[in-house]
Subunit: 344 residues, 2 copies
DNA sequence: CTGAAAGCGCTTACAG
DNA sequence: CTGAAAGCGCTTACAG
């Protein structure tokens, strides 16, 4: 038909109906006679017609797109993305696709302008935030965004003042699970490796679980065993190197993420320390690479598929104006070789 | 002002100019008086105004978006994405952002409908394809897409009939580099592990490099050393398990990807075979996890940043109607511990 | 350098 | 169940 691109008017002309009916039929409106609908769809197929997303988006004011915003800490080099977020990525895009939403992806510094960059500009109907850097800085911003009507979900946090926006693992229980496992193997001086400050509430909860496990076992909580490490492999390596140099006695190490655990394992290997005979190591996340080390890493598994589904479904619920609930997902102890005991 | 969203008419009203002038000013048109432009931009900032992407896209027929389509082989389980593609992802989004393009991401089976799903529907101005499954099936489709005016770039291939669309590493040279390294360490019976059939032209080229290195060293090419493995960790594991069971003699192993090498290393470890003392192993890609193994994996490094930049810039060039050239990017030998010799 | 006007291709009240 | 009409918010010839 003619020279330009195929439009709904072309379909209408061929089908002998109005353009409005074509629009309704292609969107499966119940207002259209089933036979008419099938005829229209058949013609659309023959002409390789697709609804123009810009036109539909302009008219309906919905882009049917969600923006996935990955925050990278400015201190890390720009090449490496937190692999835990990467493992959410596939499930997020698949869940969104099943709900007929496109996914825009962006890795960037925190801008004050998410809301405007994506929602106000009609590029996305809502946002999924992964990573948030320093929570002390973020908390106020998230609350304000929520008040301004931003539609977003965020992974990792479980703060009460962001009802419906947050999806996280049961971090306290996870930390307890990891620590109990080490205690059950007879470990007494367990290093906690990570940043359990207010900047990282989810890591702080894991530390609280660590403390709870100690209390329940009647073990003392020694603050000198709480060692700071940023959430990077190199930071884990450095922290353990300093730890070994300090001469502090310890027989186990709970790394608050697998990434930190990877660095720790590398450093212990380099130092000739036997895992798990001398030091037991447990991580958190269950990244795919946890099985690459020898011994392979015992860790707390987060179900990234469930997390991704919750992030997407809560967000789409919000977009549709439904009431959604925040969720804390269960975590599981995945026993491999790095703690000793059962498997190797 | 008033109740609805802020539009360019609101800005125009406040600035005392026409809406057309606002549109021009915000797009930095040289047609606008610099002072007027600054005044308009200032007002836009004050009102938190953003151009509506759907409206702009409809009018201009450009979405300023590129679609990143990751093909997953239907035989793999749906949870694991090829980590090499993941390492391209960050660089692709950053390069696109620098060029003012959004990135839509989709993991999906090969549909015959890319062109229509994305380009015809005005969801994206072009596509980057990562992974293509069976090349025998894909080749004709890519040629047809190209003929139909699809704008796309694809990584991995270097076929002559897709001028400008393809970006790849110098696979032959890479295979030669890897094999020469093993030969230089005195290895004589080098397993080639991977699928070097016509289904995977880039792996076939790596095998040709393997052969070339043998010829140059005066070593015979023994076809029984060419072992099939799909590009998955588990496939690499299985292939090596069978290889060991077969009793075939070999002293080195060139895995056509790191992913296969990871499986191979796991199997050798499990079987108590010492790497590199008994068997030298070299991979291809230099995934982040290559350093997790002990010994860490010697491999051929692909520069994912350069590859991503080429994929994005060629695609945007095509979108703008420019003439673009296919590229084959240089590869580098990254020596770690798995081959013996220098480092550990 | 600026403005008035057209129109991109849809969705959705409104009327029947 | 269907159609005529309006209008979403821009960009871009066209005219001056």
């Amino acid at each position: 038909m003619g020279s330009g691109k195929t439009t709904s008017f072309d379909i209408a002309h061929k089908a002998g109906v109005s353009q409005a009916t074509v629009s309704r039929a292609l969107r499966d409106s119940p207002l259209v006679n089933p036979k008419t609908r099938e005829r229209i769809k058949q013609i659309a197929r023959e002409l390789n017609y697709r609804v123009d997303r810009s036109a539909a988006g302009l008219r309906s004011q919905h882009s049917k797109t969600i923006a996935l915003l990955l925050y990278e800490d400015p201190t890390t080099d720009d090449s490496q993305i937190n692999p835990f977020f990467l493992s959410l990525l596939g499930h997020i895009t698949r869940t969104a696709a099943a709900e007929k939403y496109d996914v825009l992806i962006s890795f960037q510094q925190l801008s004050d302008d998410w809301l405007h960059e994506y929602q106000i500009s009609n590029r996305a109907d809502g946002m999924i935030l992964l990573g948030y850097g320093n929570y002390a800085h973020m908390a106020a911003k998230l609350t304000r965004l929520s008040d301004e009507g931003a539609r977003f979900t965020i992974f990792g946090l479980s703060t009460a003042d962001l009802k419906g926006h947050t999806i996280s693992g049961q971090n306290l229980e996870g930390g307890e699970l990891a620590t109990k496992h080490l205690v059950s193997l007879g470990r007494k001086r367990i290093i906690f490796l990570g940043d359990a400050s207010d900047e990282h509430p989810e890591f702080k909860l894991r530390y609280e679980g660590y403390c709870k496990a100690h209390q329940e076992a009647g073990l003392p909580i020694d603050p000198s065993l709480k060692i700071l490490s940023e959430n990077q492999e190199t930071a884990g390596y450095e922290a353990v190197a300093q730890l070994l140099e300090s001469g502090l006695e310890f027989d186990a190490l709970f790394a608050v993420t697998d990434l930190i655990a990877f660095g720790a394992l590398k450093c212990l290997r380099k130092s000739g320390i036997k895992v798990p005979q001398e030091i037991s190591v447990v991580g958190f996340d269950d990244l795919p690479a946890a099985s690459y080390f020898s011994p392979s890493l015992t860790t707390i598994k987060q179900d990234t598929r469930l997390a991704a589904e919750a992030l997407v479904k809560n967000l789409i619920g919000m977009i549709k104006g439904e009431d959604v609930q925040s969720q804390q997902l269960p975590l599981f102890l995945k026993i491999r070789g790095s703690c000793g005991g059962r498997k190797t």
